[in-house]
């Protein structure tokens, strides 16, 4: 008896599938897919798994939620006591019923909402990883755009879901949407009437949001997730720089079995954390706010965290910016904070890969990631945009900052108004200096090894510190990068004095390139390293130090420590 019954059955099934759909090819293709190992490569998975949890819990919720704005009175004998006999919409009443009467309903609602917050948080964290490591470079620019669209769709999904229960808070959010829509020049009021089916709030918006929230947006997200993952497979995974890792290989483990186990296990961890949060931490207790009524707006009325930057932008804007021209109101106090500011910030984010590609002038593929310090402009730019967004989110929480830190809300708002312009500049400058400083330190370490703190006395009476040299593996990580130089362009006129076509575009590209790469620290070259090892004469080598500021090497000139 050579094969047992189960093995024969498995073999037969495999054969059945292989002969019909070519399963063995698929399995071979996917199971042998190599993934490099790093915790930051799991951030996107958090988003994916949160989305799966959203689909599962959301399906449960649709079985009890009634997307209707018909007016009813909440039963006198139903929980919670604060809602008994209150007039409300069916959407709100069904949310209450779902929370208080349906077994497990509140848990599902809370898991769903926490998963939504987690989905956005994971997307943002994942995007930060992609951005700061330069994983968006060729050939992955399109996947960056897909990811960006997924983030925007996540915002839309979150916003439409937040609006469904028809409580005061969600109604306030819709009121702001209505205000922003009406602020759009020329078409504003028509667009608002179109969205709300008449004057705000009308009776159509909840059913419309419902369709968007459970059908259109998740459908689009699913489709784009499929594209996103397919592109990951097509492009192969990026990897961090290290010995043996090049743009032509991927160092890691196969999808099957290592990553199947890791990724599968991670799904349950994500689900577990979300269930834990849903079970222990109250979220969006709509009965606190009561059914929507356009008149009350309570203190502490804010959107979910991912929309806070928009809230902050609106809160910071001085109201005087509205004026009337020939009978038409031009609400710059809405247009600037709600359209122009987010437009610039999000637009810069979406287009960054293309802008950087122009500045670099690089057409090669990149599969090895950058250490953030090695691309000072990008890192500084990312930190500046991030700081601006965080500052806007804090401005959207200015009332809570005021009460919790005993500050004057007026002072906070005025401070943020100044920071809005100052903070990006300051954070950009500081981050860039830190990056350049770290690169210089890397050079120092490569050239002279690490300080050990051991002082020895030479026979001549001289004291020197022992420096421990790097091994080849450590050194690889520190020197294995490129420092792009600003683009050089051909002259404006050729040898016969004829103006060259495309010169102005080229000079623009060159100017952009200078902004990106004027300040840079070149990696240590083998020649420099050899010179450093032969007693500190490297600074006399020609060509080795042309792009390093003299201060970077000033210290190393006097350095005596390389006792290898």
């Amino acid at each position: 008896m050579s094969t047992s019954t189960p093995a024969r059955a498995a073999g037969a099934t495999a054969d059945f599938l292989d002969t019909r759909i070519g399963a063995s090819k698929l399995v071979k293709e996917f199971a042998r897919k190599i993934f490099p190992d790093h915790w930051s490569f799991l951030l996107g998975e958090i988003a994916l798994y949160s989305f799966i949890v959203l689909l599962l819990s959301g399906t449960f919720l649709t079985m009890f939620f009634v997307p209707s704005m018909a007016e009813i009175h909440y039963p006198e004998d139903a929980l919670p006591v604060t809602m008994q006999g209150v007039q409300m919409s069916e959407a709100f009443a069904s949310t209450l019923k779902l929370s208080f009467a349906v077994k497990g309903g509140l848990l599902m609602r809370q898991i769903h909402h926490w998963a939504a917050l987690m989905f956005m948080a994971a997307i943002v964290t994942h995007m930060l990883r992609i951005f700061f490591t330069g994983a968006f470079r060729k050939p992955r620019e399109l996947n960056w755009i897909v990811g960006f669209l997924l983030m925007v769709l996540g915002l839309v999904a979150g916003f439409t879901g937040y609006s469904l229960p028809d409580d005061v808070l969600s109604g306030n959010g819709l009121r702001i949407t209505d205000g922003i829509t009406k602020g759009v020049p020329i078409i504003g009021s028509y667009a608002s009437f179109l969205i709300f089916g008449g004057e705000f709030p009308g009776v159509d918006i909840i059913p419309r949001m419902f369709t968007a929230h459970i059908l259109v947006v998740p459908g689009l997200i699913l489709a784009l997730v499929a594209v996103h993952l397919m592109l990951v497979v097509v492009h192969k995974h990026t990897q961090y720089p290290g010995p043996g890792r090049t743009n032509k290989n991927v160092v890691g483990f196969p999808l099957f079995p290592v990553y199947m186990a890791k990724a599968g296990g991670f799904f349950f961890i994500v689900f577990g954390v979300l269930a834990l949060m849903g079970a222990t931490m109250s979220i969006n207790a709509v009965w606190n706010y009561g059914p929507y009524d356009p008149s009350p707006v309570s203190a502490g009325a804010q959107p979910d965290w991912y929309m806070l930057f928009l809230e902050g932008s609106l809160r910071m804007m001085p109201g005087q910016a509205e004026f009337v021209v020939g009978g038409f109101t031009v609400p710059l106090n809405v247009i600037i904070p709600a359209m122009i500011v987010p437009g610039i910030l999000l637009g810069a984010l979406a287009l960054y890969p293309f802008i950087e590609a122009i500045a670099t002038g690089d057409k090669r593929e990149h599969h090895v990631l950058d250490r953030p310090r090695n691309v000072p402009f990008r890192t500084a730019f990312g930190v500046a945009v991030l700081a601006e967004l965080i500052m806007l989110a804090l401005a959207g929480s200015n009332d809570l900052i005021a009460t919790h830190f005993s500050l004057s809300i007026n002072d906070i708002t005025n401070t943020f108004r100044v920071l809005f312009f100052v903070l990006p500049v300051v954070t950009f400058w500081i981050t860039k200096r830190i990056c350049l400083g770290l690169q210089r330190r890397d050079r120092e370490i490569v050239l002279h090894g690490r300080e050990t703190g051991t002082i020895i006395r030479m026979a001549t009476g001289e004291y020197v510190e022992v420096h421990k040299p790097l091994d080849d593996f450590e050194r690889w990580t520190l020197v294995g990068y490129e420092a792009p130089r600003p683009r050089e362009i051909e002259p404006a006129e050729d040898s016969r004095g004829v103006r060259r076509k495309g010169y102005r575009l080229d000079s623009f590209k060159a100017a952009l390139s200078r902004v990106f790469y004027e300040d840079r620290i070149e990696p240590v070259t083998p020649a420099e390293l050899a010179a450093a090892h032969s007693h500190g004469e490297h600074d006399m080598l020609p060509g080795g130090t042309d792009n390093v500021e003299p201060t970077a090497l000033a210290g190393s000139g006097q350095d005596t420590g390389h006792t290898s």
Partner: protein, 260 residues
């Protein structure tokens, strides 16, 4: 009658008539107008004397020796016992230092001393009196009606569940999560600091009790678990980053570290 008819054209007759008309108006008003409750309170003369002594020692610096007010503090004539009870028993008065707003702190006076102070101030002029136990009993109120009143009149500053909120220039609407029912009632009645007065014509005593019932209902354990401060989406967002992303990045590092 002849004398009356003769004096009809006396030059003082119009003055007399005006005086009579004023007297009649006053009498009619006193019959129609609601009787000020503070006057009805049978204040003990001893209490008033004790209260006056306490007042002169602790409050007169700002409010004036006769509670007439001054540059540093308002007049207390006619604010009633409710205002004194609210300010003193919550520790807001006496104020420890000048600031945008008098904060709640441990009360400086015992219950008896507070009552004496209240009696003294009430004796200066009629004003709202301290509510009875029954008037502030949350079990007699309708929390659902209170919810509607609260979000229409109070939530704008105090937050939807009374967690408090910011006002301009460092002033704030305090959290009502631990405020005793009597103080909630007195605050509505007297409008302390930045708060408007919600008199009995605006929100009736029964409605005030409904509001108290709503606020006390918020102190029950929350249906969904930890309330995270009752501050809404901002605190939820903070916690998803701290707890959620924190735990999951921790797990990701654990998963990523296992193989190597």
């Amino acid at each position: 009658m002849k004398a009356l008819a003769a004096s009809r054209r006396h030059r003082l007759a119009p003055v007399l008539l005006v005086l009579l008309a004023l007297l009649a108006t006053g009498v009619v008003y006193s019959m129609i107008a609601p009787a000020p409750k503070a006057v009805a309170e049978a204040a003990n003369a001893d209490d008033i004397a004790t209260g006056e002594a306490l007042f002169v020692a602790n409050c007169a610096t700002c409010h004036g020796i006769n509670a007439q007010g001054g540059p540093a503090g308002p007049s207390l004539i006619g604010v009633g016992a409710a205002a004194v009870d609210f300010q003193v028993s919550s520790g807001r008065m006496p104020m420890s230092s000048n600031g945008p707003q008098a904060p709640v702190k441990p009360p400086q006076f015992t219950g008896e001393q507070t009552a004496a102070l209240a009696a003294y101030v009430a004796s200066l002029g009629p004003g709202p009196s301290i509510p009875t136990e029954e008037m502030v009993d949350p079990t007699l109120g309708n929390a659902a009606a209170g919810m509607e009143l609260f979000r229409t009149n109070c939530g704008q500053c105090h937050n939807a569940v009374g967690a408090g909120g910011a006002l301009s220039e460092g002033k704030y609407a305090p959290s009502l999560m631990d405020t005793p029912p009597s103080e909630i009632y007195e605050a509505m009645l007297t409008g302390p600091q930045s708060m408007p007065v919600f008199n009995d014509a605006n929100i009736t005593p029964e409605e005030k009790r409904d509001v108290i019932a709503y606020l006390v209902a918020q102190r029950e354990p929350a249906a969904g678990g930890l309330t995270l401060g009752g501050l809404g989406p901002v605190s939820e967002g903070l916690w998803v980053w701290v707890v959620g992303i924190g735990l999951l990045i921790g797990s990701a590092i654990w998963l990523g570290a296992k193989s190597s």
